[in-house]
Symmetry: none
Subunit: 280 residues, 2 copies
């Protein structure tokens, strides 16, 4: 991804804040900052942290110290989210109050759409290490968001949860940035596998010269009977058809075919052939 895209993605993500309520372990705050910066988020709001500041925060934040300076400390969740348009409360699926519940991915997609289309401010609120968010705090959220985990072992700690949420926020921001750059592209990055290539891929037209070449070579060395090739040509097409050769590979393979042909019809002699001839 180029720098412009990265800047655009970070600009979108600057509207998404992470809120941590009554966090006990400074290490979790440091890990949160690192997770955020890795994914391009920058705004962390701490609601009445138990221990702040603390060296463990800087230690685990590693290269994300610039985010420490931007940390906002507030007294109540109310203060942390008052200027936000959409507030997500993170919650395990077992909750005492019913609420609109979203998985992390659709929640991130909804968030970045709201950011891009209406410059909305988004907050994702994480609770205490031991008992999460209170019902009062959960009730302040527009939606509850959950990460679909192994239901037999659902212990994602707060730092891991923030990592996953920030990752989904970035993926949604990337998808939208791609969409803006190329309006025909589908919203979901997942809708196509895009591989990165250093070399241009061959065209269908080039492959239409490739198949006759390999078939001619195989006929010349009598590996294939041109009068009765059976399924061989079809199998070669299936094999090389799905590989999507790049130009370098295409010329490499055709070079090999030509060498075999030259070897076969005697127009190319091995450096050792002289001795071979004398033995004959």
């Amino acid at each position: 991804m180029n720098q412009t895209d990265n800047a655009a993605v970070s600009a979108h993500l600057s509207h998404v804040r992470i809120v941590m309520v009554n966090t006990t372990l400074p290490a979790n705050i440091g890990s949160a900052l690192r997770a955020m910066k890795t994914m391009g988020l920058s705004k962390l709001v701490l609601v009445a942290p138990k221990t702040y500041p603390h060296p463990d925060i800087n230690a685990l934040a590693a290269g994300a110290v610039d985010l420490i300076d931007q940390i906002e400390i507030v007294e109540s969740l109310e203060d942390a989210i008052k200027d936000c348009h959409i507030v997500f409360g993170t919650s395990a699926r077992s909750r005492t109050i019913p609420w609109p519940l979203l998985d992390a991915r659709p929640a991130a997609e909804m968030s970045l759409k709201a950011v891009c289309e209406q410059q909305q401010e988004i907050a994702v609120v994480f609770g205490r290490e031991d008992r999460g968010l209170t019902n009062e705090e959960l009730a302040m959220a527009n939606y509850h968001v959950t990460i679909p985990v192994n239901t037999e072992y659902g212990v994602l700690n707060v730092a891991q949860a923030i990592q996953v949420i920030c990752y989904e926020m970035r993926m949604a921001a990337l998808a939208l940035t791609e969409l803006t750059a190329n309006p025909d592209a589908n919203m979901h990055v997942t809708d196509d596998i895009d591989m990165e290539w250093d070399e241009p891929l061959v065209t269908h037209e080039m492959m239409e010269q490739f198949y006759p070449h390999i078939e001619k070579m195989l006929a010349e060395i009598e590996f294939m009977d041109p009068k009765n090739p059976r399924l061989l040509p079809l199998r070669l097409r299936r094999l090389f058809g799905r590989i999507q050769l790049d130009r370098m590979e295409y010329h490499l393979l055709r070079g090999i075919f030509s060498r075999v042909q030259a070897l076969n019809n005697g127009t190319w002699k091995k450096s050792t052939d002289n001795e071979d001839q004398s033995n004959a």
Copy 2:
């Protein structure tokens, strides 16, 4: 999600192994196990770990101790992946060798499709904390996989990277399980790599006999200089590594190599050679 679905998802994910090469910090192994179990993965293979066993592993693995008993320790990456069909090497975008590169999401979708449709075995290989995987190790992979991070600060540690990969593997497994349960469900699992196979696909171990064969053949016809093969062996691995040959194609290609070798060393004579000789 009900228990049946969770069991089905875990069953799919049992075919996806995490491989950690020369890991230095036991804490990272413990965090990896926790990340895996949270997402429903169960198989961790350690290639020559620097410190094992170690109390930090159990400490950070928390409730995932059952996975510790299932850990497999091997001496070489080769041993870790020999029965795998698709091997992903994790890599930063800056690489000295070009290779088919996928983001974590499409890589996970490709993996779970391969598991569900062809019961394939998948490996995701993670390198050393300090310098990742060597070029030799990266060349053993069919694909390289990367997590799209903030390009100005791309420091995801190995435990965080495993967390994200395992999360995407679970999301892909959930999508496929939902699809099976409800075929009309709108889902994002790509169909671009839809492969209907009549033949079983080759294993990594079989391919380790394939590459020496094609290289020997190319050396014999002096297309490649064994003393100075330059990038050719690497390019052959990249090309045939991503094609995922089935057994029929594998034997077809090796049959062609053998024919060229026999033609070259004179152990096989063309049916038309008699006339050719008389002309000589």
